[in-house]
């Protein structure tokens, strides 16, 4: 089982991970996240002053993990369709859970690398002070958020089984997180109903926890937030798996796997 998982993860990376070329990787995985963080930090500095730069830097650095977790995971299913291999994947006897989770594994690692690069550059450019932060705990928050956003990606990635526009869905989900998860402003400023949605999403508690860690909070102080983040991520991953199985059968009946 472990060997299948490892092999599937590796093959998924070399075959489907379209940023595998250096230039593509630099474009999508370095330039895009770094400039996104810098843009929103600068916007925040314009709106709230330089003292708030860390707030925006942390929020946006953690949000870019969703780039790997959501775009990456959704794109892998969408790419199977585009490359014409989706029917073969679904016809194979491979364990669906292993196949499905291996698609998220690379993206989790990739999301972590993205945050480290993006946050490091932002800290240097804006001279941010992380002296009070427990960096190990902050790193744990990053890992956790990468996994929980991949859970959300798994759920929406399953939609790639029945629709040709999965990447459009990825765009919508990714950018909505900018508003809903307290990335650039507190979610208390959102209308009440929208706040309820916010707490049902990954990132929201994770970003809040990371900000508290940066301000000097201990593990005990943020354990509730981290537990909530983990539960939300697991819920989305399980839900994603269920939807994947459901839509797999549905797409087979309707011959939707080959729609291009």
């Amino acid at each position: 089982m472990v060997a299948i998982f490892a092999r599937s993860t590796y093959l998924q990376y070399v075959a489907l991970f379209q940023w595998a070329t250096i230039r593509g990787y630099v474009g999508y995985k370095v330039l895009l996240p770094v400039t996104q963080i810098l843009f929103f930090v600068q916007l925040g500095v314009f709106g709230s002053g330089r003292s708030k730069a860390l707030y925006f830097a942390l929020g946006n650095a953690l949000q870019v993990t969703a780039q790997a977790g959501i775009y990456g995971v959704i794109a892998t299913v969408a790419n199977e369709r585009q490359h014409g291999t989706l029917p073969m994947l679904l016809a194979s006897p491979a364990n669906r859970l292993v196949t499905f989770l291996s698609r998220a594994a690379v993206n989790v690692i990739d999301g972590i690398v993205t945050v480290v690069v993006g946050l490091s550059i932002t800290v240097v450019v804006f001279g941010l002070d992380l002296r009070h932060a427990n960096l190990l705990l902050l790193a744990f928050c990053v890992v956790l958020i990468s996994m929980t956003t991949a859970g959300l990606g798994l759920l929406f990635g399953a939609l790639g089984l029945i629709t040709r526009d999965a990447i459009t869905i990825a765009n919508v989900v990714y950018y909505l997180l900018l508003i809903l998860c307290g990335i650039n402003f507190p979610i208390t400023r959102l209308p009440g109903v929208v706040q309820a949605i916010s707490y049902g999403l990954p990132l929201t508690r994770g970003v809040e926890a990371a900000r508290e860690v940066a301000a000097g909070a201990s593990l005990r102080q943020i354990s509730g937030l981290l537990a909530g983040e983990l539960l939300v991520g697991i819920a989305y991953a399980l839900c994603g798996y269920g939807v994947f199985r459901l839509l797999e059968a549905y797409s087979r009946r309707g011959g939707l796997q080959e729609a291009f």
Partner: protein, 246 residues
């Protein structure tokens, strides 16, 4: 234009992305005691971003789609010059991009009760027309790169927000470090955007003549650069034979 009506990406570009950036901008820039000129950056900024995105990337995406559809080689082989075909695509994109201002103004008004401040209509209109001209020149210059280099899309797409920063789409470029302001000054839209925002306030410098002149001057340089680029690309494409490579 007709292709864009059925393209989900085109709808995202004019409707969804500008709306998202406007909402974030309004939340970030409309805190208690916020100055009115800052609101202009949130309301107009989202629309300008959408307009730029479509001008900047949509023409290139359409070339990439020609490649994926296997029709790019035919485009090079037809008697119509490449620049004419690309100009048509870019003009269609720009017209489509104008729609970006509808969701941003609607969201600002209906969701946040925010209105554009007093606008100097004449200067705003001239600045906007010059901005459109600069977008056209940038798009015409960049789009052929997509025909020759497949990596142009990820690189230019990846630096999309870099242009938001350097051109001052949602905040003044004067906030940036000097080196970044220098880089931004080489981009024609930077000057036109500065003029647009200046036309929404009585505060700050109002050097419209200089800003318009800088935009037009840089636009002319881009067009001259594009002429050389098109010749180079027509030649290189035939030598490399890589147009059909997806």
């Amino acid at each position: 234009m007709r292709l864009r009506v059925v393209s989900p990406f085109a709808v995202l570009a004019w409707l969804f992305f500008p709306a998202i950036f406007t909402v974030v901008g309004l939340y970030v820039l409309s805190g208690p005691g916020t100055a009115t000129p800052q609101l202009a950056y949130a309301i107009l900024g989202g629309g300008l971003l959408g307009y730029w995105d479509i001008a900047y990337l949509d023409g290139g995406m359409s070339i990439q789609n020609e490649r994926w559809s296997g029709t790019l080689e035919q485009i090079f082989a037809v008697p119509t010059p490449l620049w004419v075909i690309i100009l048509g695509k870019v003009c269609g994109s720009l017209l489509w991009g104008l729609l970006s201002f509808l969701p941003t103004i609607a969201i600002a008004y209906l969701g946040f009760h925010a209105l554009l401040p007093h606008v100097d209509a004449a200067r705003f209109t001239i600045s906007f027309a010059i901005l459109s001209l600069s977008f056209l020149a940038v798009a015409v210059m960049l789009t052929p790169l997509f025909t020759l280099w497949r990596w142009a899309l990820p690189m230019l797409n990846g630096f999309e927000m870099g242009f938001y920063i350097l051109c001052g789409f949602m905040f003044p470029v004067t906030l940036l470090p000097t080196w970044a302001q220098g880089a931004g000054a080489l981009l024609a839209p930077t000057w036109a955007i500065r003029a647009i925002y200046a036309s929404t306030t009585n505060q700050g410098p109002h050097d419209f003549g200089i800003w318009w002149g800088a935009t037009v001057g840089l636009t002319v340089i881009y067009v001259i650069g594009a002429l050389f680029l098109y010749r180079l690309i027509e030649r290189r494409a035939r030598i490399s034979g890589g147009l059909a490579l997806a």
